[in-house]
Amino acid sequence: MSLQMSREELLHTYKTMRTIREFEERVHTEFATGEIPGFAHLYAGEEASAVGVCLHLDEKDSIASTHRGHGHCIAKGCDPKAMMAEIYGRKTGLCGGKGGSMHIADVAKGMLGANGIVGGGAPLACGAALTAKTLKTGGVAVAFGGDGASNQGTTAESMNLAKVWNLPLIFVLEDNGYAEATASAWSVSGTPVKRAAGYDMPGVQVDGHDVFAVAEAAREAVERARSGGGPSLIHVVFSRYYGHFEGDAMTYREKDEVENLRRTRDCLNLFRERVGEAKLLDAGELDAIDAEIKTLIDEAVAEAKAADMPDPLRDLETDVYVRY
Amino acid sequence: MAEIQPVVMPKFGLSMTEGAVLDWHKAEGETVAPGEELMDVETTKITNAYESPVGGTLRRQVAREGETLPVGALVAVLADPSVPESEIDAFITDFQANFVPPEAGGEGEEDAPRAQKAETPQGAINYLEAGGGSGPPVVLVHGFGGDLNNWMFLQPLLAENRRTIALDLPGHGASAKQTGSGDVASLAAAVAGLLDALSIESAHLVGHSLGGAVTLHLASTAPQRVETLTLIAPAGLGSEVDADYIDGFLKASRRKEMKPVLQRLFADPSLIRREMVEEVLKFKRLDGVDEALTAIAEACFPQGRQGLSYREALAGLSCPVQVIWGEADIIVPVSHAEGLPEAVTVTRLPGTGHMAQMEKASEVARLIEGLMGRA
């Protein structure tokens, strides 16, 4: 597998994955204190997918995300502090506290929203790709979705439509092994790559713990999309470290399943090993990034907790319409 | 005079198909002179006092107050007191038996005059022609925000005796929305452009409000084209103008905003009906109208004042000129009728607002006929 990334790209990749990990681990801890309202679905363990794909995107490109969307947000450039405030439901949140964990979005950055509906994002990504194609912006769109979403009619419809309209679009199917508590090995019939082939769409399966593998597959798919070659599918296989939602005791999983994964297949550890072996970055540099990110997330949590809640009198009824 | 004379539901303007007799001004048995107000007629656009076209004793109110009847339906019967009741009854029975109500939008509408467009160097000008005859026609020029329908009561009266042409100024009605500079001279050029397009050498001009300034401009720059000039509450004779009206008209996009603005035009604000407001809004909703009206308002009424005076020009005119003004006009004050050249006849109409040609159509028609008789 190619390691052809510039030094800047390597540093960016590690730093972004670490930011997501630190962010999610911290949400996990803070959630347990009861201070975070509502649901949170954590991306820890899956960082290589969001970062490996978004490495090839810029602000003219759009992504549609999922209920497990914090990682996609950070990888697409959303501000982690504003995200944390949003998760705490604060006025300073990225969406003013009106969206929460499941609806974090930053349209200006091409992040079209985490999504509370499984399979909800693929049609939207088709639309973003259509905009890029119609306005000839040179942009592409990415539809992130899980193994659960892969079975939704919206995904099937969108794959067909993307091919029929020849859209600059990449379907990234993040197969973390479980749709809620049900195993993808049971719920997904056939294989996603063959499904893509059924639509005459290039498809590839990659190891989702290996950011270089994801990045390589994404590079090819994004280039195809940008050059008018139409949609592709990337089937990313990996696992998540936490439950479907925070509070999920994960009794449907094997007892030491996550522990083994953390020890042997962790995307950050694998990255450190690979760049160490190839003598591309030294451990001290990476340790410094870890420390920097820890401080950032500490600040994010402290600032979020200190921030004001939205004002019921002023904020409840605004932002429904542009004009009504 | 043993003759029995019917009074029928009048047709105000092109689109009226029916009207309601709101209330009677004369009781049965009272004498009615021609031109005397007989009843109030309410249409969906406006309520108007209807002046009896004939004289005699009102023998029968055929229409009940509040009753809606088609245009042409019998509303009253006038006759000498000597005519027996039985003859009146027989007359009504006979009239009703033979009356065929006009079908709305049906075949009968074919002969009705229709607005049409003429191409001029200032763009397409929409106009409505009615009446005929060989003499110079009457050309009717509306004011700011108006259109050819402002003459809906007056034009049919004038058209009985001669050719009449009511036009939409640029930016107004169905005429082109590009206004050029939008000043009085450019509007006058459009009127001249229409005369050229219709091969009319000279005409009797009637200008209302801003249309008054437009016709004054034309009369002073091309006097050979003007037989007589009638100015109704004209702009151009003073500096005041009701800025609330101009601003309100420009800004209003909803019924509730527009209705009070239009009500300023009439001495009796209750005359304004739903459909008149809706028609003005229909015009204002068209793309380009806001820009056109804004351009005209800025050019003609800068800072809410009248930009140009035609008092001097008026003094230099050789054609017969008259000024007609409602005493209750709050748009352009009637005081502007003071101190005009002696040759100019001034008629002040009591209880009348800015829209004398609608509020007092018969009287205005008689005044115009009178002036044209002097030409």
């Binding site: 999504n115 919206t154 | 809606t68 793309d287």
Partner: protein, 341 residues
């Protein structure tokens, strides 16, 4: 100004807006006439010919046929709207919202609020509604109350060719998602329509009749029936105000209340099923805000609570008619006079 059909008015609105704004695109089943088919180009222009001629003028990059996959293309329209286009999407029959409703009510309707005001969704969903076409239960419903219920959506229901053109242009220029309801029985109705582009503001009711005895509020095609009823009642000496709200969201409740205050009696005519429809909503709001002005109970004229039937004898009995409206008005006139404080 010239006589145009409801269909022509809608077609002209799309033509003029596509001409004016290159970001306006159109998509839907067969709207470009049937892509890939071997016969003539632009054969259909949508199932009832409303989009005919657009693909020839604006090309296949802006007029897009879709597979029969409503979730994907309605969602794509929403996604294109938040990223810079102004899509008009034709959802052939509103009954098909069942296969794409998530994209409308969970996605498009909510972006702006969920994203803290940092998204615009200038999306128009044009869709056919209404019974009378012998189209049976899955192609005849009047589902506008369902969409009216959703905050974030606007809902327009034109009652004439003039209204259709002006409201559609307003919808296309609007920065919020609009569901635009076209009654399939009205496509050949004719009326005077200006040739120029024009807009009709949302949330401003139109009074198509003005009277003093009874207020009739009606929507879409029902406005025409209400007008017929009002004209017939005028001959009996009952004068009615007819209110066409034009949009159910936003709803011009002020005008309805003012008319009820003037007349003291209210009849609401709604083609939608009778539970939780616009009639029940307006009756409730009038009861809350104008109770003291009511001289008689509010009456609702709506179909029975059944699916739309197929057989002509049943469907004709199902629909509100001018006669049913007249009967309801007479009932409000004859109701025992209540002492008004």
């Amino acid at each position: 100004m010239s006589k145009k059909s409801f269909r022509q008015a809608i077609n002209e609105a799309m033509h003029q807006e596509m001409e004016r704004d290159p970001n306006v695109i159109l998509m839907g089943e067969d709207v470009a006439g049937g892509m890939g088919a071997p016969g003539e180009e632009d054969a259909w222009g949508g199932v009832l010919g409303v989009t005919k001629g657009l693909v020839g003028t604006y090309g296949r990059e802006r007029v897009l046929d879709t597979p029969i996959t409503e979730s994907a293309f309605v969602g794509a329209a929403a996604g294109s709207a938040i990223t810079g286009l102004r899509p008009i999407v034709e959802l052939m029959f509103v009954d098909f919202m069942g296969v794409c409703f998530d994209q409308i009510f969970n996605q498009a309707a909510k972006f702006r609020y969920m994203f803290g005001g940092k998204a615009k969704t200038p999306l128009v969903v044009r869709t056919m509604y209404g019974a009378g076409f012998r189209a049976a239960s899955q192609h005849s419903q009047s589902l506008y109350p369902v969409f009216t219920h959703i905050p974030g959506l606007k809902v327009a229901i034109p009652s004439s060719p003039y209204e259709a053109k002006g409201l559609l242009i307003s919808a296309i220029r609007d920065d919020d998602p609009v569901i635009f309801f076209e009654n399939k029985m009205m496509y050949d109705d004719e009326g005077e329509v200006p040739d120029e582009a024009y807009t009709i503001p949302f949330g401003e009711a139109n009074l198509t009749r003005e009277g003093k005895d009874v207020t009739i509020v009606a929507f879409g095609r029902m406005v025409n029936l209400a007008n017929q009823a009002a004209d017939a009642l005028a001959k009996e000496g009952i004068s009615c105000t007819v209110v066409d709200p034009r949009t159910t969201s936003p709803l011009d409740l002020d005008t309805i209340l003012e008319c009820v205050e003037d007349t003291g009696r209210l009849v609401v005519v709604d083609e939608a099923s009778p539970r939780c429809n616009m009639a029940t909503d307006i009756a409730a709001q009038v009861a809350q805000d104008a109770f003291a002005h009511l001289k008689a109970p509010v009456r609702m004229v709506a179909p029975p609570h059944t699916p739309v039937p197929f057989s002509p004898s049943l469907e004709d009995a199902y629909l509100p008619t001018a006669a049913k409206i007249q009967e309801a008005v007479r009932m409000t006139m004859n109701a025992a006079q209540r002492e008004v404080a």
